[in-house]
Amino acid sequence: MDISTIIITAGVIGGIAAICSSALALAAHYFAVEENPQIGELEKMLPGINCGACGYAGCSDYAKAIVTEGEAIDRCAPGGGDVLEALSEATGAAVDAFEKTVARVHCAGDADNAQHRHRYNGIMDCHAAHQLAGGDMTCGYGCLGYGSCARVCPVDAIEIKNNLAIVHPDLCIGCKACIASCPRGIISMVPASQKIHVLCSSKDKGPIAKKACQVACIGCRICVKLDEEAFTMDGFLAIRNYDNDVTNPAVVEKCPGKCIVAVGAALEKGEPTCA
C-alpha cells in the first residue's frame, strides 16, 4: 500500500474531526443554557439513587426544585442527617434534627403462625391474591407474602421469609415505595430508633384473630395498662404511639398474643434484624 494513501486518509479524518469539534465548541459557547450553578452543587450532595422518595422524578429534579421553587430541603429520606446538613449549609435553610424512619411490616404471621383458608395458585402478586375473596389467609389483614413490596424496593431491603415480608431496617432507605405497593396497607414508616413494635394489623375480635393466627393482637389492653403513653387501642387492635418511648419493657413479655416484639432482643439472639 502506498504511504500517500495513509497520509491522505489521516488528513481527511483529522480534517473532519477538526471541523466537527470546532462546531461543537462554538455551539457549546453560543447556545449554552444558563443554569444556576447551585443546582449542580446540590445534585452532587444528594445520594443519586433516584428513588423518588422526595416526590420528584429523581435527585436532579429535586435539586432543581429546591433552587428554583424553594422546595423544602428535608424531603430526601435516604440521604439522612448528613445530606440534610450539607443541604442546609449550602442553601442556608434552617432544619430540625433529622430522625431516620424505616418501613415496617406490621404483621408477624408467617407460614407457621398464620392459618390459610384456601390454596392460592394464581400469579405470585399480592394484589392478585387479595383480589380473590380477600386473599388466601384466614386473617383478612395480614401479610400475604407474595412479595409485591419486595419487587418495588429499590435497594432490595425487603426479604420474603416463610411467606412473610420482612424489611431490613439497616438496609431500608425510607423511600416509602413499599407502602403504596401493599394491597393490605400494613406497611408504615417507624422511627429507626424505636425498637418495640406491635406486629399485628388485625382488627378482628380476639377469638377470631387468635384462630386465624398464633401471633395476633387479641385486644386485651394489657399493653395499654402497662404503658399508657406508648400504646393506644384502635377497636380490638393495639397501636404503638411512636411519639413516646416504651418505658415499661415488660409489655413484650406480658403480651398474650406475642405480637409486641422488641427488635433488639432478636438481634442479640442472632435472628433476623427485624423480627
Binding site: 383458608r117 384456601h118 395458585n121 394464581g122 400469579i123 402478586d125 394484589h127 392478585a128 383480589q131 380473590l132 375473596a133 380477600g134 388466601d136 419487587r151
Partner: protein, 453 residues
C-alpha cells in the same frame, strides 16, 4: 320465523371438553327453602344496593330489602319470608367484599308480595315498563350482571335495530340456559315481545350453539307466529367463546363492535335467555328477580342437575341438595370453568349472576408452574379479540401498564382462551384481570384531574 347458520367462524376460539351431558338431559328441579339465605348487595355491575332493612326486621317474600344506589344499580328483594338476623360484610362470588343481609327463613309464612301485574303491557308507555324492570331488580343473568333497564334505555343518538338473545352457553359444564330454553320457551318468547316493544325493534336473533338441538327445536316452536317480529334462530357452531356478546354480534349480524365500544354502537342489544325470562316475569306477573336456575355439576357431585334456587342460597346447601359429594372437592368454581371465579369455600352464596357451580376433584385440577414464554404464538391464534396476549402479559409482569394499554389490553374480554392454549402454563388472562382495573382507575383519575382543571 327463519333458521340461519352463523355468518362465519369465530376468529380464534378453542374447543374445550364440555361435559354438558352430566346435566343437559335432566329437568330443572326446584329446591326446598334453605334455613338461611345470604343476600349480597353487590349482585350486579355498578354501585352496590343500599339495605333498607335493619337487624331483627321481619320481611315478606318479594319485599324490597335494598334499594338501588344510582342509575347503574338495581334493588334486591327478599326471596323468602323470614327475619333479618344480621347485616355484615362478606366476600361475593366475584371476590370483592360487599355488604350482605342474612335472612332466616320462616317456612310457616307463605305470604308473597308482588307488584301489580301488567297483562296490558303493550298499551302502556315504554318508560313505565323500564321503571318496572328496574324496580324488579333485573340484572344480566349471563355472568356480568349489567342492570337490564340501563341496557334497554340506549341514548337517543344510538338507535337500536337488532336484539340478540344469547342462548349460546359456550361455557363447559353449564346447561342452565339450555334447560330454560327447553322448558320455558314460551316465557322467553313473551320476554322477547316485551323487549321488542320497549326498544321498538322488529329484528330478533336467538343464537344457540348446535350442541343443543332440543333447545333449537323448542325455540323454533316458541318463536312461530310472533306478530310483527322478524325472528331468526341462528345456529352457531360449538366453540368457545361463542357466547361473548361482541363475538356473537359479529357472527350473527356481521357487524363489528369498535374497539372500546358497546353493542349499542352497532345498533344491537344482547340479552341472556335467563334475563329475558326475568323481564317477562317482572312485567306480566309483577314478580321481582329473587330466584334463578343454577347448574350444580361436576363428576364428584352425586346428583348433578339444574336447580331453581332462591338467590342467596349457599353453595353448601346447593351441593347437599344434589346429594353431596362422592370425593373431596379440590376446587369450586362459581360460573363456568373458563370465566368463573374459584371460590375460597362453600359458605359463599349465589347471586343473580351465578349460572353454575362446578365442583372439581383433585385429578381434574391442574396445579401449574408458570414457565417462560417460548414465543410459539398460540395465544395470538386463540385470541378472539385479535390481541397479542404474550406481549401484553410481559408488559403487565414488568409493571409497564402504559405499554399494556397501548397494546389494547382494555379490549380483552377475559375469555381465557390464551391461558387455555399456552404450552408454558403462563397465567396470561390472570395478568390482564389484574392490570385492567388498575388501568381503568388510572384513566378515570386522569379524566377527573382534567375535569378539575
Amino acid at each position: 320465523m327463519r333458521v340461519t347458520r352463523a355468518l362465519r367462524k369465530l376468529r380464534g376460539s378453542i374447543h374445550p371438553q364440555y361435559f354438558k351431558g352430566l346435566t343437559s338431559d335432566r329437568n330443572i328441579v326446584e329446591m326446598p327453602l334453605p334455613e338461611k339465605l345470604y343476600l349480597s348487595m353487590a349482585q350486579h355491575l355498578g354501585a352496590p344496593a343500599k339495605p333498607i332493612v335493619a337487624k331483627g326486621d321481619t320481611v315478606t317474600r318479594g319485599q324490597c330489602i335494598a334499594e338501588s344506589a344510582g342509575f347503574i344499580s338495581v334493588p334486591v328483594h327478599a326471596p323468602v319470608s323470614g327475619k333479618v338476623i344480621d347485616i355484615d360484610t362478606a366476600p361475593t362470588p366475584s371476590g370483592t367484599m360487599a355488604p350482605r343481609v342474612i335472612l332466616e327463613t320462616d317456612p310457616e309464612n307463605t305470604e308473597t308480595v308482588t307488584m301489580p301485574p301488567m297483562p296490558d303491557w303493550n298499551e302502556r308507555p315504554q318508560e313505565e315498563l323500564l321503571k318496572r324492570i328496574a324496580e324488579a331488580g333485573v340484572a344480566g343473568m349471563g355472568g356480568a350482571g349489567f342492570p337490564t333497564h340501563v341496557k334497554l334505555s340506549p341514548p337517543s343518538d344510538k338507535p337500536i335495530n337488532t336484539i340478540i338473545i344469547n342462548g349460546a352457553e359456550c361455557e363447559p359444564y353449564l346447561t342452565a340456559d339450555h334447560r330454560l330454553m327447553v322448558e320455558q320457551g314460551k316465557g322467553i318468547a313473551d320476554g322477547i315481545r316485551i323487549m321488542c316493544y320497549i326498544l321498538n325493534v322488529k329484528t330478533v336473533f336467538v343464537a344457540i350453539e348446535d350442541n343443543k338441538p332440543e333447545a333449537i327445536k323448542t325455540m323454533q316452536d316458541a318463536l312461530e307466529n310472533l306478530e310483527g317480529i322478524d325472528a331468526t334462530v341462528c345456529i352457531l357452531p360449538t366453540e368457545y367463546p361463542q357466547g361473548a356478546e361482541k363475538q356473537q354480534i359479529a357472527i350473527t349480524t356481521g357487524r363489528e363492535v369498535p374497539s372500546g365500544g358497546l353493542p349499542m354502537d352497532v345498533g344491537c342489544v344482547v340479552e341472556n335467555v335467563g334475563t329475558v325470562l326475568a323481564i317477562a316475569d317482572a312485567i306480566k306477573k309483577g314478580i321481582p328477580l329473587t330466584q334463578r336456575v343454577t347448574t350444580v355439576t361436576g363428576h364428584i357431585v352425586k346428583n348433578p342437575q339444574n336447580v331453581l334456587a332462591p338467590i342467596g342460597t349457599t353453595y353448601a346447601d346447593l351441593v347437599s341438595f344434589c346429594g353431596g359429594l362422592t370425593a373431596p372437592a379440590a376446587k369450586v368454581i362459581s360460573g363456568g370453568p373458563m370465566m368463573g371465579m374459584a371460590q375460597p369455600s362453600l359458605a359463599i352464596a349465589t347471586t343473580k349472576t351465578t349460572s353454575g357451580l362446578v365442583v372439581l376433584e383433585e385429578s381434574r385440577v391442574h396445579i401449574y408452574q408458570a414457565m417462560p414464554c417460548i414465543g410459539c404464538g398460540r395465544c395470538l391464534e386463540a385470541c378472539p379479540m385479535n390481541l397479542v396476549p404474550a406481549a401484553i402479559s410481559y408488559a403487565v409482569e414488568g409493571g409497564d401498564y402504559d405499554r399494556a394499554e397501548s397494546l389494547n389490553i382494555l379490549d380483552c374480554i377475559e375469555c381465557g382462551c390464551c391461558a387455555f392454549v399456552c404450552p408454558s402454563s403462563r397465567p396470561l388472562v390472570q395478568h390482564f384481570k389484574l392490570a385492567k382495573p388498575k388501568i381503568i382507575l388510572k384513566r378515570r383519575q386522569a379524566a377527573d384531574a382534567k375535569g378539575a382543571k
